[in-house]
Structure formats: C-alpha cells, structure tokens
C-alpha cells in the first residue's frame, strides 16, 4: 500500500522540485542583480525562459550523433529527478529511501554530469568537445573532496554505533552535530564549508562554469543545443541545485520542527525551503557574484589541494575528537 | 638630438632638404631609390615608432605619394617622409626589415586599399574586404557611387533614390 502511494507521489515531487528549482533560479537572478546594483528580472523569468525554449525550434546539427544528442537531455533531467526520491524532500521522508543509500546518491550525482559530457561529445562541435573534456576533468576534481566529506559523516555515524550508517534514515535520523565534541564540531564546520565550495562546481556555476564558459568556448557543452533539448538541460540544472543542496541538508541540517500530522509536514516543508534557499544563496549565488571564472588548471588545483586538505583536516579533527 | 640636428644630418648624409613645419614636426621628400636608406638612417637615429603609412593618389600627375610618419620616443618629434611612386604599377620596397610587424600591417592595409605592392613583405593578404572584385577601392578614379548603385541599390526602392543622384 505504502509503496503505491509513494509511486503516486513521484510525479508530484518531481513537479514540486522543478517549480522550486525554477523559483530559486528566479530568486538567484534577482539577488545577483541586486548585488550588481541592478533591478533584475521578475521572479517568473525562468518560467518564461523555459516556456520560450519549449516553443522554439529544436535544431539538431548535421554532424551530431542524433540519438545520443536527443536522448542526453532526457537522461540528464531524469537522473537528476531520481536522486530526489532517495532524499528527504520538504517534509516528506525519502520515497525510495528503503532501496538506496548515500553511496547510491553519490553515484547518481555523477550521472547528469556524465550525460552532459556525452551530450557535448555527441554534438560534433569543437567548442562542445572542449567543454566536454573540461567537464570530465572537473568531475574528477570535485568528486574527491565530496566523497571524503560524505564518508567522514558515515564514519562518524559508525563510531557512534548507529546501525547501517550509509542509509539515509540513519543520516537524517541522527543529526551529526549532536554526536561530536567541540573539536569535532570544528571538523564538521570545515566539512560543511568544503561541501558548500563543491556546490558551485557540482552545479556548474561561476567560478566553476569552465565547461560552459561562454566567453571562452561560447557555451561549451551546450553550444549546439536549442529549443526543447536546451529547455530540458535548463530544467535539469535548476533541479540539480535543489537536489544537491538537499543532500547537504540531509547530511548537516536534517532538523524538522517535530510537529506531527499534515500541519507538521507543511511546516517542515517551509523550513526545508528556507534552509534550501539560504544554502543556495551562500553556496551558489554569492560565490557566483563575487568571483570570476577559474581556469581549468585552477579548478583542479583548488579541489585537489586546498579542498582536500581542509576536508582531511576536518576528518582528522573528528577523529581526534572521538579518540578523546 | 633635436629637429635641427636631424635636418642637418639628413642634408649631410643624403642631400635631402628637410623642413621644419612647426615644433616637433619635420617633413622631407625623398626619391624612391633612396627611401630605404633614409628610413634606415632615421630608425638608427631613434625614430623607433612607425605611427602610420599613408598613400595619397594623384591621378593628374599619375603618381602615388607615400607618407611615412615616424615618431621618436627619445626625442619627441615626428618625421614624415614622403616619396612618390608610379600609379600604374605601384611598387616600393617594404619597410618590414626595419620596423617589423608594425610596418607589415600598415603595408598590408595599403596593398588592399590602393594596390601598392611592397617588395619584401611576405603577407599581403586582404584585410578588410571580402571577395572584392573591383579595382583598389581608395583610388581617386574608382567611382564608388556608381559601383554601389549598380551592385547594391534597389532601383524600385523610393527611399534609395536620393543616393542615385
């Protein structure tokens, strides 16, 4: 019975996620505009953009591998949405929570990026292939600090003798802040910072938008996309912001208000969205406005050396904290 | 070194009569054959900066007049060297051995717009015009009004009529 309700809820959640993603895209643009001393577009602008893209002609370049070129936007959006069902979203528990864990989420997070790589390589444009190469390099760079952070959380849960530490119920059921002492707290803050720094990379925003870098390679992986296909990528990107920040929330801020019933779900959802927007503001909008694009070599450097070092320091602090 | 020293030096070395137009402006005219030597001499005297090369067309006399505008960073004055070449088969030594790329690009432009051949300049591919089939467009006898009228204007268009007169 529960299973069937869950399956029915899937399109609802997907719809909500898309709306929230686009809404945040609108808020992001207004906030960025205000920080740049502009008025900015209306909040509905992303919806209008998607609508416009959907009614535009879908041009497929002659040199492309057509079936790959057409299927990758769908794969990208679908895989992004699937991750959502493994995560607690709003006031709801994870819909497919019983069937997957953090490791699966980590793997699934790679799929949209891979879809973009394949999309770029299949479109048969030199700009797109440069973009695809850059995207691959970037994936390899940001996965490492991300993995360290997630694993260290799971390790923390293991040492606290919580069963099944990689499952999402365990993670969301036991807020990590309660499991550590002062040193561990510092370690956790470092981990959170690293995760926030990975956010723009994962989302492909400035300063990590090297794969799309419109001033360098004219839009990179997406250069040949138009119309419906571009709209799907646009949606996937908007949803991915929600998804990735939901992971951060699940790992670090799984708190609810503790009210039961429908009112509780509603209140929790509201709280969730506030957390979501705040984290996105710090992790994406603010960094985007304050920085300029990295070179690809700099991307690799910042993720492999400083981020990994900070991440490992955090882990070490947590280790010391447990030993004490 | 100031302008007067240079004028004396040119007189002594090449027998050319340079003239001071106003402060920091020296003008001189040389024969085509002596041009390279004079330019080399001027470069050695510190006129390191080739500000511009220009061509003026005199269809009446059948000549092109080339002007080289040289600036000295050290002594702050401008020397303009004028020389003439035939209009029918305009050809002159290139200044690229002296000023390098900066002369090269000016010569490339003039080759395209006036049809002057600069001997010794390796790269004289057209810069601005694409698929140009007419004569060099900046010559005085090139009737661009007629060319444009025939090639581009729409005879039917009422609004383009004033341009055809």
């Amino acid at each position: 019975m529960m299973m069937w309700i869950n399956i029915l809820l899937i399109p609802v959640i997907a719809f909500i996620a898309i709306v929230v993603g686009l809404l945040y895209a609108g808020i992001d643009r207004v906030l960025a505009a205000r920080m740049q001393e502009r008025v900015g577009p209306p909040l509905t602008q992303p919806f209008l953009d998607v609508y416009k893209l959907l009614i535009k002609q879908n041009i497929i370049p002659g040199k492309s591998v057509k079936w790959l070129f057409n299927s990758m936007p769908v794969v990208c959006l679908a895989s992004t949405l699937i991750i959502l069902f493994y995560l607690p979203f709003g006031g709801f528990d994870p819909l497919l929570g019983d069937n997957g864990d953090l490791i699966l989420v980590l793997y699934l997070l790679i799929v949209p990026a891979l879809a973009m790589v394949i999309a770029g390589l299949s479109s048969g444009s030199p700009y797109a292939s440069v973009g695809a190469q850059r995207k691959m390099i970037m994936m390899m760079s940001y996965e490492f600090p991300l993995a360290i952070t997630v694993v260290s959380i799971a390790w923390l849960l293991t040492t606290s003798e919580i069963p099944d530490p990689f499952s999402l119920q365990a993670v969301t059921g036991n807020p990590v802040w309660g499991l550590v002492g002062p040193l561990g707290l510092l370690g956790l803050i470092l981990q959170l910072l690293v995760l926030l720094f990975v956010t723009p990379g994962e989302l492909g925003r400035i300063p990590f938008d090297v794969s799309e870098a419109s001033q360098e390679i004219a839009g990179g992986v997406l250069v040949e996309y138009s119309g419906r296909n571009l709209a799907l990528f646009y949606l996937a990107n908007a949803v991915k912001a929600v998804v990735f920040v939901s992971v951060i929330i699940a790992l670090f801020f799984p708190y609810g208000l503790g009210v039961t019933g429908w009112a509780g779900i509603l209140a929790d959802s509201l709280l969730f969205f506030i957390k979501l927007f705040l984290l996105l503001f710090v992790g994406s909008t603010f960094i985007r406005v304050a920085m300029s694009r990295f070179r690809i070599t700099q991307v690799v450097y910042v993720y492999w050396i400083p981020s990994v070092l900070v991440s490992l320091t955090g882990l070490l602090l947590m280790l010391v904290d447990t030993l004490l | 070194m100031n302008e007067m020293d240079l004028i004396d030096g040119l007189e002594l070395e090449f027998g050319v009569n340079a003239e001071k137009q106003r402060d920091r402006r020296v003008w001189l005219t040389v024969e085509g054959g002596a041009l390279m030597d004079v330019l080399r001499y001027l470069f050695d005297k510190g006129l390191e900066h080739l500000s511009a090369i220009s061509v003026t067309d005199y269809p009446g006399d059948g000549v092109y007049e080339l002007t080289y505008h040289l600036w000295s960073y050290a002594d702050n004055f401008l020397v303009t060297v004028k020389t003439k070449t035939s209009r029918d088969k305009p050809a002159i030594e290139s200044a690229t051995p002296i000023w390098g790329e900066s002369a090269q690009i000016h010569e490339r432009e003039l080759h395209e717009l006036f049809g002057v051949t600069f001997k010794g300049n390796m790269d004289l591919t057209p810069l601005f015009l694409e698929e140009w089939d007419g004569p060099p467009p900046f010559r005085k006898d090139f009737d661009w009004r007629k060319y444009v009228n025939e090639k581009y204007y729409n005879k039917e268009n009422e609004r383009e009529k004033p341009y055809s007169i």
């Binding site: 906030l31 205000r34 008025v39 900015g40 | 609004r159 004033p162």
Partner: protein
C-alpha cells in the same frame, strides 16, 4: 575577500542604479537631439537643411496637390530612418522652422511611418 563580501552585502540593500524603463525613466536634458519638429509656416524653402544633411535624409519636395495654392514652394521631407540626429538642419535653419525635440520613441514596425512629410497628407 572580506572587502568583497562587505561591498556585495552593501549593494544588496542599496537602491539599484538601473531604472525599470517603461515604468520610470531618467529625465532628458534640454537640448536633446530627438525627433524633428517642423513648422511649415516659418519655412522659407531655402533648402539649406537639404544641402547640409550629411546623410541626405532631407529631400525638398512639393506640397501635395490640395495645398499647392497655399504652399507653392518646396518643403523638406525628412527620412528618420536615414537621419543621424546631428542637428545640423536645426543649426543652419535661418528661421528656426526645423527644431529637434526630446522625442526619442521612434521605433516602429512600419517602414513608411519613418518618413516625415512636411504636410500631413
């Protein structure tokens, strides 16, 4: 780093530089060079505006048939599509019959409407 953050946060709460154009607009100063205002009764048909116009946007034409009696001479017809709004016609006009106004809302979908006839047909 701190400076950047402070600057951006300050910007966030400042009044933006841009204005929401159709709803509000910045004031246009006196002497702006916009659309022409032409007073046919002041015009002496000297044709100076036609001669000085760098873009040949002004053409001296006869008045329409019905007004021929009242206006027997030639009058400037201005093609705003060719006009560069330099204001030479205003400067050279001996009787101030041609003047530039502050009207800049000249974009149109109709290519005919960019031609300003001296007398409305």
């Amino acid at each position: 780093m701190i400076k950047t953050i402070l600057e951006l946060i300050r910007n966030l709460f400042k009044k933006p530089m841009t204005v929401r154009f159709p709803h509000e607009q910045i004031e246009m100063p006196e002497g702006f060079r916009g659309e022409h205002a032409y007073e046919i009764d002041k015009c002496i048909s000297c044709g100076l505006c036609c001669k000085i116009c760098p873009n040949r946007a002004i053409e001296m034409i006869d008045a329409p048939q019905k007004d021929r009696d009242k206006y027997p001479k030639t009058y400037p017809r201005i093609d705003l599509g060719k006009c560069c709004f330099c204001g030479f016609c205003e400067d050279i006009c001996p009787t101030d019959a041609l003047k530039l106004t502050k009207n800049v809302y000249l974009s149109t979908f109709d290519s005919e409407s960019v031609i300003k006839e001296p007398i409305e047909k």
